[in-house]
Amino acid sequence: MVLGLVALALVAAACAPNATQSALEPKGPYAQKSFDLFVPVFWVAVAIFVIVEGLLVLFVFRYRHRRNQTPRIPAQVHGNTRLEIAWTILPTLILAGVAVPTIATIWDLAAKPTGDVLEVNVLGHQWWWEFDYPGQQILTANELHIPTGRPVYLTLCAVGFGYGTPVPSQGGPPAPNECQTGPPDGQPPAGIGAAVIHSFWVPELAGTQDVVPDLTNHLTIQADEPGVYTGQCKEFCGLSHAYMKFRVVAHTPEDFDRWVAEQKAPASPDVSGPAEAGKQIFLQTCIACHAVAGLETANGQPVLANGGPNLTHLMSRECFRGCTLEVNEENLRRWVADPRSIEAGSFMPDYALSADEVDQVVAFLMTLE
């Protein structure tokens, strides 16, 4: 009975309505392909489970030594070759039956989708996700916006500080076809986030694909309906691995086009009041890592530096810090004031800003819509 619980639990789980990141509820054709393989294999496994455990329980009851039974020494049966052959061949046939659709689907999922495909480069950092749309010249973080009904072909790269985060919309280098394996010029600064292995997983839209420093991996996802699908890094990637999440926001094609247009617009350089003071602080410190399109330094250079999330449209995002904090004034203030009190091992330095300076920086950030 204890054994049956496991199977029961699995069945119950399939119906559980409250799991919001479940592989058991595919929301697009690519997740569906994994699921369509899992379900029949699961039931075959359940059938074998019932037969084997059933025999076990049957034998245990049928052949148990009863207390007042006269001791008996059973016939010393040493085996049966026919049975051995049968229970070697039978599982082989079942497994062969499982292998055929498995192999077909492996190749199916590995193929690059044809037709109208959106291509996005996914960059895994310690511990946040960057999304680079080479065709649209958009760079965003922690939120992957996609149109419904259209395959999205992802190129997955693991990057560390300064590792080829392209900023094409600001005249930066075009996105490479292959993941870059090192910083364009020399070694990254010591003690800054390293290029380590991550794994991109948004279970409702597709199975996982690792993001590995020396590989250029691909994954296709697709959502059938507009909505928000959560995902997170699945491969242990260091201290704050549990907080490396993201969300996929699926729009209708029209809404997606609108979103693209908004994201392509540069930030307005004209700010006033505390935000202006915040902008000056930003230009002295934050630009070491964070780019903002449309912003210029004192000597007229565009703010191109990278390593941290591009903040051009920060306020258009719902979440930051690996999509574990809502973007709002209070959270931004806590984060800017002391990132490491929020994220263990965070690679965002604490600049020891005064409370006023923090307010000013946050006031500036709030203008980045």
Binding site: L10, A23, L37, E84, T105, V212, L239, A242
Partner: protein
């Protein structure tokens, strides 16, 4: 300890040879495979309690969403140490305990081939464990997972993964040496008449496991040396920017790591294959098939490693190949399960505690095996990999499988080893609590994984809807903890009973039950001569022409071992029964092993200690080489 290490500073020749074979200090110098087996067992059980406590802390942290009981740094150390502990410091050495104690007895030998090397293996293992655990006090424990994936394991700024690399290298030396020792013992020290196909299945599984160790440990050794060099000496084996490859580590790790799974579970399969026939009172069904499927698992086990890497991006060709090889390895595993069922069929089943744990093993292992097949379905595995579904799967294999099997073995051979029975009431309580707690803990993890809970996360938000099953799982973990406490009480209480166990309390089938409980130092008064598989059984029972099994008139076990065996002198160690020369105790294996952790500390904290460690080990090895094995 201090007084033991004193001789290290002196040349070996000046050291007076220890002679005591009883008393506290004799445990430090013993070369008796039985005592070493007990040392392995006690040490591994100690680590089992530690590793279990780590698991409890993990389950407390995960019992509810958004908890802050453990911060990420500590949480990462805990899951890493839990994995390292359970794999390298619990299941492997606990299996080694059984192999050490039982293999010589089961094949009718007086000891292993190299008794001092055997002691050396134990001490190196102990020092490896202590070395790794000392990291908690020296800047932080390993925190990159037991799988230690590069480059994270290289770039991590704490010392933890250096301790990991060195500690596992030392443990690897211990295991390699022990593997060679035991394999040679099985092949060369079998009693007269004990042909390979008269060996008990446990001995066969022992042989397969030793060969798996001997061939897989070199692979992880290379990986660990490269990791160590990357961390300490600035090499770039896994550094992409300099042309290295992180995927190389994964291949090295899993080319060891998958055979390792069979290293962990085959001993338990061997134990269960011994216990089922005894408590069913009929021979193992399909002995040859069970043996050959074990050998097949050993071979194929080297060809499935990349099924741990389906999501890495090796491409569809590799994924197809490893999907197929993984499905193939399910076949011999299934054959074993069916043969165990065949053994139960038409038996006269007695449910003493060893039998309960053995049946629990089969029941749980079937679940782990079936969920394993779902991983071989690669596109399905894309969803399951690195989730709690995997955690559930391998706990069904390594806890429901290996640990249940090892507990079966503990209850079964306890009277042989200690001359006292464990309480059956306590044993049954232990079993049922463990079975229920185990399924409560790990059953829900299947669901959690499929519902989107990745492994190795310190926390999860309430919004994911994972709270209920996590709470159930955490409650189950404490039920397991209670079951282990019940065992502990049972074990301690057994020593209050008088020693006076008969040789063969279970009416068993194999040679270790032909000698007294516990066996004498030299195991057998005379080396037995073997005439068949299950030799002891055939000395006790004969089959009539009608196929009925009747007790042999002479009855008993010990005596008739001597009746037909005037041939004792032909035995490998035959000494006529009166003046049997056993190898003498020695300090040197302990000293030789004691240098290793010192070298390890030197690599981390400063070169002088490397020299000191080398001197200690070399002194140990020289003393050992110059000392006669027996005097």
């Amino acid at each position: 300890m201090a007084s033991v290490s004193v001789p290290a500073e002196r040349p070996g020749g000046l050291l007076r040879r220890p002679h005591a074979t009883t008393g506290f200090w004799s445990w430090f110098t013993t070369v008796d495979h039985k005592k070493i087996g007990i040392l392995y067992g006690i040490t591994a059980f100690g680590f089992f309690l530690i590793g279990g406590s780590e698991a409890l802390l993990i389950r407390v942290q995960l019992a509810r969403p958004d908890q802050t009981f453990l911060e990420p740094a500590v949480y990462n150390e805990l899951f890493t140490m839990h994995g390292i502990t359970m794999v390298f410091l619990v299941v492997m050495p606990l299996s080694a305990a059984f192999f050490n104690y039982l293999l010589p007895l089961m094949i009718g030998a007086r000891d292993v081939v190299f008794p001092r090397l055997n002691a050396f293996s134990y001490w190196a293992f102990l020092f490896a464990g202590l070395f790794i655990y000392s990291s908690w006090f020296l800047g932080g424990a390993p925190n990159g997972g037991w799988f230690g994936y590069a480059p994270n394991s290289v770039t991590d700024p704490t010392r933890g993964m250096t301790f990991y690399a060195i500690g596992l290298l030392i443990a690897g030396i211990a295991s390699t040496v022990s593997a060679i020792n035991l394999a040679v013992t099985i092949l060369n020290l079998r009693a007269p008449g004990m042909t390979l196909f008269r060996m008990p299945v446990f001995v066969w599984m022992g042989l397969v496991v030793q060969l798996l160790l001997a061939f897989s440990l070199p692979v992880i050794t290379i990986g660990l040396v490269e990791l160590l060099f990357d961390r300490l000496f600035g090499t770039h084996f896994f550094d992409v920017a300099a042309g290295g490859s992180p995927v190389l580590w994964q291949h090295l790790f899993w080319l060891f790591g998958h055979p390792e799974v069979y290293i962990l579970v085959l001993p338990a399969m061997g134990i269960v294959s011994e216990i089922l026939p005894v408590f069913a009172r009929k021979p193992l069904f399909g002995y040859q098939f069970v043996v050959f499927s074990g050998i097949a698992i050993g071979f194929i086990g080297f060809g499935v490693w990349a099924h741990h890497m389906f999501a890495v991006g090796l491409g569809p060709v590799a994924n197809t190949a490893f999907a197929v090889s993984t499905m193939i390895i399910a076949i011999p595993t299934g054959v074993k399960i069916f043969n165990w069922l065949g053994t139960l069929w038409n038996g006269d089943l007695r449910f003493a505690t060893p039998m309960l744990f053995s049946i629990g093993f089969i029941a749980m292992f079937v679940i782990g095996g079936l969920s394993g097949v779902t991983h071989a379905v690669v596109p399905s595995d894309y969803q399951q990999t690195d989730t709690y579904y995997i955690v559930a799967h391998f706990h069904y294999v390594l806890f429901g499988g290996a640990i249940f099997g090892l507990f079966a073995g503990i209850y079964y051979w306890w009277p042989k080893v200690f001359g006292r029975m464990l309480s059956e009431t306590g044993g049954k309580l232990n079993f049922w609590l463990m079975l229920i707690g185990f399924n409560l803990t790990f059953g829900p993890m299947h669901v959690l994984g499929l519902q989107g809970m990745p492994r190795r996360i310190q926390s999860y938000p309430a919004s994911l809807g994972l709270s209920f099953w996590n709470m159930v799982s955490s409650i189950g973990a404490f039920v397991i903890a209670i079951s282990v406490l019940v065992f502990l009480v049972n074990a301690i209480a057994s020593f209050r009973k008088p020693k006076g166990m008969e040789a063969d309390p279970w009416d068993a089938r194999t040679l270790e039950w032909a000698t007294s409980s516990p066996p004498p130092d030299h195991n057998f008064e005379e080396i037995p001569v073997v005439h068949s598989l299950d030799d002891l059984w055939h000395r006790k029972y004969a089959e009539t022409e009608g196929g009925r099994v009747v007790p042999v008139a002479a009855g008993g076990s010990g005596e008739d071992a001597a009746i037909d065996e005037h041939a004792g002198e032909h035995g490998a160690h035959g000494g006529g029964g009166h003046a049997i020369h056993m190898p003498s105790p020695s300090y040197f294996p302990l000293i030789a092993a004691a240098g290793f952790p010192v070298i390890g500390y030197g690599l981390i904290f400063g070169v002088p200690a490397v020299a000191v460690g080398l001197v200690i080990s070399l002194a140990g090895f020289f003393g050992w080489a110059l000392e006669p094995s027996a005097e």
